[in-house]
């Protein structure tokens, strides 16, 4: 188990970690996502002891490794924290063979030679690179190097495993297959892990619990569904790629609630909030349907309170299997639809469309 309490860190005049508090349970795998430069690597460096926090405390398995005990400042050495750390860019020792890389930490513990040998072999089996013991890192593919880096970190039987965007340097296909590999490998281990990535999809595949980091703070922590369905801040909603609006309650009681975004009134299912109160509304792009007719045609939506706005298409961005259409309905709203729906719709930039969404697909939180 690991616990960070009000960790602060600044580099010269930049506050990189503002106030990070975080708990990871024993044998749990927590993903941390956040945009580039928000302090993810710095946080791992602090947990590992490579870098000292300016303020705050860190406990690993209830033992204080950074912080103050009375007047005394505590800083346990990186090698004494029982940590395995897989760096952002493999960081294999280029002048050592695979087996030497893996055994680097074991040799420091002065284990008998045959035990080291046994350990190397079992780790090589674990990462399915049995035949590569004598290879140098530059003779391996990126994916193989990353697996060796994992084996090297695991060799010392860490109680805490830190993984810093371990797959980010790989091509998308390798990344995807290695992602499942990693997930399966990590699941078989009894080790507390923190997996850092800037890719939300990766975080969702790898782990159940996810922490979303903004500039130097943990914005939200929870399981996948909580975060995807109930983002607690504008920052998280934006990070998830949702439509985010500031709104005001026009009518809270009696029937469907009415809110205002700018000058446009829409229905939502907000309850128990007073008239005139400021709120934040979010809605997923894939919950928004575009139509060239005013009628709501989705049979599942019959009997539901729906919003039906009109607007002008301002941009269309096509992706591999879907497209994002930006429509101006008085405020900009983004809809995500499949490429075939886009084709059926026959819409272009500048055309008018109907924008339809259910009242209850809007998520409302305190402003």
């Amino acid at each position: 188990m690991i616990e960070l309490k009000t960790i602060k860190k600044r580099f010269s005049d930049k506050e990189v970690l503002k106030n990070v508090t975080l708990q990871v349970q024993k044998n749990e795998l927590l993903s941390i996502v956040g945009p580039s430069g928000c302090g993810k690597t710095t946080m791992l460096n602090i947990i590992s002891g490579l870098c000292s926090p300016d303020e705050g405390e860190i406990y690993i398995d209830k033992i204080l490794v950074d912080g103050k005990k009375g007047r005394k400042k505590i800083h346990v050495n990186p090698s004494d924290r029982g940590i395995g750390y897989v760096f952002q860019n493999y960081s294999l020792f280029p002048h050592m063979r695979v087996d030497e890389n893996i055994s680097y930490g074991l040799k420091a513990k002065h284990l008998p030679r045959h035990e080291i040998k046994k350990k190397i072999n079992s780790l090589l089996d674990f990462i399915a690179l049995r035949d590569y013991a004598q290879y140098y890192p530059h003779e391996l593919s990126g994916g193989q190097q990353q697996r060796v880096a994992l084996a090297r970190a695991l060799a010392i039987d860490p109680t805490l495993l830190l993984l810093d965007e371990p797959l980010s340097a790989l091509d998308p296909k390798t990344r995807e297959s290695l992602r499942t590999d990693f997930k399966n490998l990590l699941e078989t281990l009894e080790v507390t892990s923190i997996y850092v990535t800037h890719d939300l999809a990766e975080a969702c595949t790898i782990s159940d619990r996810i922490a979303v980091m903004g500039e130097g703070v943990v914005e939200q922590i929870g399981n996948r569904d909580e975060i995807l369905e109930k983002p607690n801040s504008k920052f998280v909603a934006n990070f998830l790629g949702l439509n985010v609006y500031d709104g005001k309650i026009v009518q809270a009681a009696s029937g469907p609630a009415k809110v205002k975004i700018g000058n446009i009134e829409i229905f939502t299912t907000v309850i128990g909030k007073g008239d005139g109160e400021k709120i934040i509304l979010t809605i997923k792009p894939e919950d928004i349907i575009l139509s060239t007719e005013p009628l709501i045609r989705n049979p599942k939506w019959y009997g539901c309170v729906c919003n039906n706005l009109t607007g002008k298409v301002s941009d269309i961005v096509k992706m591999k299997s879907s497209a994002k259409v930006l429509v101006d309905v008085g405020f900009p709203i983004e809809s995500e639809l499949t490429l075939s729906s886009l084709k059926d719709l026959c819409i272009d930039k500048g055309k008018n469309v109907y924008v339809q969404f259910k009242a209850d697909s809007l998520n409302v939180s305190q402003g």
């Binding site: 750390y85 760096f87 960081s91 280029p94 002048h95 050592m96 680097y104 420091a108 140098y136 890192p137």
Partner: protein
């Protein structure tokens, strides 16, 4: 279009001419040293005691100077490359001074500091040490002039070592010495070796500071460059042979330097 082509060619021709000028200007005098030489003469001169003693003094003093520069230079370079401390850039600048200082000035400075009439002279004399006229003075002059090359090069080599590799090792191993010996040192070895060779070569060629501080005593302080200068009038052949030897040594060093410049890890058998 046509005009552009012609001007393009003209530019290339001019660039090539400039380059050829330097190649000729450098290689012609070097070739002249060898053109003046024949094998019999070489063998004859290699028995000339003054040539032999200059060669010996040079090799011994340059090697000692390099060794001492290495022993003090590597930790200095490591400190500068890995630690931030107040006054770091001042230290850095001080260590660079000998590179820009004219050797004659270096000679005077050493005299004023360590000669019997210099500031530390009387103190040294009490211990029975008189530097000018001694082989130690040659070594000191060489260290003064050549060690910055080693420090420069070693510092760059240490800075080049990927921080993440060192950090990876620090997490796996509690011994800083082990991390240094197994990660930092091997990964910077090319740069360290290149710097060492440069320092040795620079020590071999040292002239001005040695002449002024150590003097010109055959067999004691007369290194090859000094002998070349002194023998120029009385024994031009000896001077010529010594020059040829120094050129060969310099070329060897340059070649080694270029080879080491292309660093590569782990060639598997």
């Amino acid at each position: 279009m046509g005009l552009e082509r012609i001007s393009d060619r003209l530019i290339i021709a001019l660039l090539a001419f400039a380059c050829l000028f330097f190649i000729a200007f450098i290689s012609f005098p070097i070739a002249a040293v060898f053109l003046n030489l024949d094998l019999d003469m070489l063998i004859l001169q290699l028995r000339n005691p003054q040539v032999l003693s200059a060669l010996t003094v040079s090799i011994v003093t340059a090697s000692f100077a390099t060794l001492i520069s290495f022993i003090f230079g590597i930790p200095t370079a490591y400190l500068l490359a890995t630690r931030r401390f107040p006054g770091r850039s001042i230290v850095d600048t001080i260590l660079d001074i000998p590179i820009v200082l004219p050797p004659a000035v270096a000679g005077i400075a050493l005299l004023l500091a360590f000669a019997p009439r210099g500031i530390l002279g009387p103190t040294l004399k009490e211990f029975g040490i008189i530097l000018p006229g001694s082989t130690i003075a040659v070594v000191l002059a060489q260290i003064f002039v050549a060690s910055p090359f080693l420090i420069r090069s070693a510092k760059a080599a240490f800075e080049d070592v990927d921080r993440n590799l060192v950090n990876s090792a620090k997490i796996l191993s509690s011994s800083r010495l082990r991390v240094f010996l197994t990660i930092t040192l091997p990964l910077s070895s090319h740069g360290l070796l290149a710097g060492t060779i440069m320092t040795w070569a620079r020590s071999m060629g040292e002239f001005g500071a040695t002449l002024m501080f150590a003097g010109n005593l055959p067999g004691v302080t007369q290194t090859m460059p000094l002998a070349i200068y002194m023998l120029m009038a009385e024994d031009p052949m000896a001077s010529n042979v010594l020059s040829a030897i120094l050129i060969v040594v310099s070329f060897g060093v340059l070649a080694l330097f270029k080879i080491l410049g292309r660093k590569r890890y782990g060639a598997r058998l």
